[in-house]
């Protein structure tokens, strides 16, 4: 295991300390329980947005805390959902009197912990709503399973809802917008290499030099199937087709196209992938009116990428474009 860390058990706390040192104007980092919170929280009269999840997906979620995006993020251990006490403390810290929205990725652990936190928060008199993101088309949706995973649409939901909350929309409207983003966002990912959970000390799986995994999530888990390594253009097809078919996206749809790196894949490759993904979108008659290219929701040092399409409406565009001032996303401010 080759990592720039000191000890597996110290990684999360030390990375948080690094964030705190690097972004004092934007965020504060609380340690007991641990959460990242806007430097100016709570913002009076504004809906508080709280997300969180296991660590190892940086910059998500802590890097998205700040004006125009999240009010707080709760980091768990690597790939481990955070706990209800973190979420409750974060909710209290950001409650400006307009209620709190939990944005939750659909993993059993995340869902249950946020549920418990919502129960505790309600018991303390806070108004809390929750939206679960489940956009990963690699997983067959079914009533009998845990359902689809929540992956890269989460980043888009956090930005768009952050813009809406900043604009003063009430909790119900922000939650509704969040559900709409989830309903219109679809993702699929792939890996060239596995990643190593610091505590585990060895890769979660192994791939031969001529293999790749299609349909991975963001936790170093194996994907739906292992296939021979293909050129980037073919990979773009393998990710885009199921995404487009699933919603389905249709001719004329205005979309945001998000090509995301898994942590170990450099930007030059993401742009090679974006080129083809954009071409495929246009071939299907989609209008790519917004996009995002970069490593925003990662799986430690995994090499690989995911592609997300979000069908946009006017609200989503407005709040996507709204100013944002966080460690990882910053524009107009």
């Amino acid at each position: 295991m080759k990592k720039l860390i000191n000890a597996p058990e110290a990684v999360v706390a030390e990375a948080l300390a690094g964030m705190a040192a690097a972004h004092p104007g934007l965020i504060r980092v609380e340690t007991d329980p641990a959460f990242v919170v806007r430097a100016d929280a709570p913002v009076r009269g504004k809906v508080g947005l709280v997300s969180g999840g296991g660590s190892g997906h940086e910059p998500m979620h802590g890097g998205f805390v700040g004006r125009g995006m999240l009010d707080a993020a709760c980091p768990g251990a690597v790939f481990t959902s955070p706990t209800p006490d973190q979420m409750l403390a974060a909710a209290k810290a950001v409650d400006g009197g307009a209620g709190v929205l939990f944005i939750v990725k659909n993993y059993t652990g995340d869902v249950m912990n946020f549920e418990m936190a919502a129960e505790l928060a309600a018991a303390e008199g806070l108004t809390v709503d929750s939206v679960v993101i489940d956009d990963d088309v690699a997983v067959k949706d079914s009533l009998y399973t845990a359902g689809r995973r929540g992956v890269a649409t989460t980043v888009l939901a956090e930005k768009i809802c952050g813009g809406a909350a900043e604009a003063g929309l009430p909790l119900a409207a922000v939650a509704d917008l969040c559900r709409r983003v989830n309903a219109n966002g679809r993702s699929m990912g792939m890996a060239l290499t596995a990643c190593t959970v610091p505590h585990a000390g060895k890769p979660s799986f192994t791939l031969a030099d001529d293999e790749m995994e299609i349909g991975i999530g963001i936790h170093g888990e194996p994907g739906r199937r292992r296939v021979p390594l293909e050129p980037a253009d073919r990979v773009a097809e393998m990710l885009m087709e199921p995404v487009i078919e699933d919603l389905p996206f249709r001719t004329g749809d205005e979309v945001l196209l998000f090509v995301n790196g898994m942590g170990g894949t450099p930007l030059i490759e993401l742009y090679v992938l974006y080129r083809k993904a954009h071409e495929i979108a246009e071939r299907h008659g989609l209008k790519v009116v917004r996009n995002l290219v970069g490593s925003y929701i990662t799986s430690l040092e995994m090499a690989g990428a995911s592609i997300t399409l979000l069908r946009l409406d006017a609200d989503m565009i407005r709040y996507w474009d709204a100013p944002v001032l966080t460690p990882a996303l910053r524009w107009g401010a």
Partner: protein, 210 residues
């Protein structure tokens, strides 16, 4: 050999469980690496070491208080799926233990039954979904069936049933938790949560056996 477990005995169980989980951390992590995300071992070890420290720092008054402390500690230290589920188990068990200075076999059966019900309510897993429920369910049934037996015998039977249930997860297709994302590829792997459930019950049986 005892007929019931008081706070001291239950604390001994949880200390033993903490030691066992620390020892088995790598194995649990490996099981989780195959069909999950490689954290079950370290999550459980972290949680139970926090439990042991908590109990040592402020010994609870009775089994109900002890279970409540255990449940709250697990919920705030384990995280992931296992934290809320095992936390719920102990919180529900606390309800059943209320007012009892020590727990005999029937009382323990009630506690475990309520705990399992809590897990099912939280997690919605059914038997055969390849989860901890597949180890805990048979253990509850075995405890019930061992009504006439001594406490150590009853708990040994429960642990054996949990072990069998744990082994029986190997051929299953996962339908709950992270392993469900793998679909058919989850077949052939033992469920990590069922394994930690067995280890907890085994530690309990071993504690009762003295």
């Amino acid at each position: 050999m005892t007929d019931s477990l008081d706070v001291a005995a239950l604390t001994a169980w949880l200390d033993r469980a903490a030691a066992v989980l620390e020892r088995e951390k790598a194995r649990l992590t490996e099981l989780d690496a195959a069909i999950g995300d490689s954290d079950h071992g370290v999550n459980m070890a972290r949680g139970f070491s926090a439990v042991a420290a908590k109990l040592a720092g402020a010994p609870p008054a009775d089994p109900a208080a002890l279970f409540k402390t255990v449940g709250m500690t697990l919920i705030s230290t384990v995280g992931g799926a296992a934290g809320p589920l095992y936390g719920t188990l102990f919180l529900q068990a606390a309800g059943q233990a209320t007012g009892k200075p020590a727990l005999d076999a029937p009382a323990l059966a009630e506690c475990l039954k309520a705990g399992l019900a809590g897990i099912v309510q939280r997690g919605k897993a059914e038997p055969g979904d390849k989860t901890m429920v597949d180890a805990l369910g048979p253990a509850v049934a075995a405890l019930d069936a061992a009504a006439g037996a001594s406490l150590p015998q009853a708990l040994a039977a429960a642990a054996a049933a949990a072990e069998a249930g744990m082994m029986a997860t190997i051929p299953l297709v996962a339908r709950k938790g992270r392993a469900s994302y793998l679909g058919e590829r989850s077949v052939g792997h033992q469920d990590p949560g069922a394994t930690s459930s067995f280890l907890l019950l085994k530690a309990l049986a071993d504690t009762a056996a003295g």
